[in-house]
């Protein structure tokens, strides 16, 4: 039984990093495709499109930081907390990166037609980023309370 608990602890420890990376891969690829499509249709503003398309990469960075903040001896005492915090924060990062990618793709699509709404079109993506930051910050706060 203890072996299983320890194994789950290790899974939880690596979850924020792995799930954040998966989310960033999906989010950046969706927004990146939209950026490439917009570049085909327009004659300028390429840098802007690429800049927006990398917004979902922040989740993997948050995941790495959470993983290091959780890093400690994985024992039957610490493993349940590592599993719970790690897995749930990882899932939050995964979904936020995926959805942020879609929001960025829509922002690119919209601002291509109306460049004047570029800043405003990024608001939904920024709000999604805010939720990822919530998950990140409170995972760090809770990680401080895990013994070991």
């Amino acid at each position: 039984m203890n072996e299983l608990v320890v194994a789950l602890g290790w899974a939880g420890l690596f979850s924020p990093m792995a799930l954040g990376a998966i989310g960033s891969v999906i989010g950046c690829s969706v927004a990146g495709q939209a950026a490439i499509g917009a570049m085909v249709d327009t004659d300028s503003g390429y840098g802007r499109y690429i800049g927006v398309s990398v917004m979902p990469s922040s989740q993997v960075i948050y995941g790495i930081v959470i993983m290091f903040s959780l890093q400690r001896d994985v024992t039957p005492v610490t493993a349940p907390a590592l599993f719970g915090i790690g897995l749930l924060s990882g899932l939050a990062l995964l979904f936020s990166a995926m959805r942020q990618g879609q929001a960025c793709a829509s922002a690119i699509h919209a601002s291509k037609t109306k460049p004047e709404i570029f800043g405003l079109s990024l608001a939904p993506a920024a709000i999604v980023e805010g939720f990822a930051v919530f998950a990140f910050v409170f995972a760090l706060v809770l990680a401080g309370g895990i013994p070991g």
């Binding site: 999906i26 690829s29 969706v30 927004a31 495709q33 939209a34 950026a35 490439i36 499509g37 917009a38 085909v40 249709d41 995926m98 990618g101 879609q102 793709a105 829509s106 690119i108 699509h109 291509k112 037609t113």
Partner: protein, 237 residues
């Protein structure tokens, strides 16, 4: 990866089309549109091609009877695997059935006797309510009474605007929830077809074509009159 994200690149490469009636030309040429549509999955591209073949007037065979056209439409629709396109095409053909019924009645025809003249769910109802102005479908199809009124007045341009507007609005309502997926591509392409059709309407060209048809018809009349003109005139006594 969510299926709905597959066409982010394709959709972003398509320029915004703007409103239908304000358009002076299509947002991109047919060649460029076809180049961009090459990014579609082959099965989905096939579905879209079948749908356009059924809906584009230029691809219709004028010599085909209504019954033959209905049979062909059913065959093509059965072959369309995407339910979204199938529903869209069915809706458009039902709309054409309604307009065809209005035109038949306007010409003074009586209610068709068999069901093979039209397509879709309204055929039976139209036959039953042939003498009602909007076939008793005012609630289900809000544009129908107005279409009937415009047809009766002979306002063909206004009627065309009404019908195109109804299709455009239907596509607008179908586009809800579709942003980066195949359905959004379908809606874009069908709208492109509508803009292409609307922007190629040309009053001068229509007048020239009308003159051409009149000349053709008159040439036939002259030919039929010629033998009698060539025949020896009876002598006056």
């Amino acid at each position: 990866m969510a299926h709905s994200d597959r066409y982010a690149m394709l959709l972003s490469s398509l320029p915004y089309h703007g409103p239908l009636f304000g358009a002076k030309q299509t947002p991109l040429s047919r060649i460029r549109l076809n180049q961009r549509l090459a990014l579609l999955d082959p099965v989905e591209a096939d579905c879209l091609r079948h749908a356009r073949r059924l809906l584009e007037w230029a691809q219709q065979e004028p010599d085909r009877t209504d019954a033959q056209a209905v049979v062909r439409a059913k065959q093509v629709i059965d072959g369309i695997t995407n339910p979204f396109i199938r529903d869209l095409v069915t809706w458009r053909l039902e709309m054409r059935t309604l307009v065809a019924a209005l035109r038949r009645r306007h010409r003074g025809e009586s209610a068709p006797r068999d069901r093979r003249w039209g397509f879709g769910r309204w055929v039976g109802r139209i036959m039953q309510h042939w003498n009602e102005p909007a076939f008793g479908l005012e609630r289900a199809i809000p544009w129908l009474p107005e279409a009937e009124r415009l047809l009766r007045r002979g306002a063909t341009v206004d009627l065309e605007r009404l019908l195109l507007g109804a299709v455009w609005n239907h596509l607008e309502s179908c586009s809800d929830g579709h942003y980066l997926d195949f359905e959004a591509v379908v809606i874009y392409v069908l709208r492109w077809d509508m803009i292409a059709r609307w922007t190629t309407y040309d009053g001068a060209e229509a007048a020239r074509r009308f003159d051409e048809l009149v000349e053709q018809a008159m040439a036939g009349v002259e030919k039929s009159l010629r033998p009698s003109a060539a025949a020896p005139r009876p002598e006056r006594t």
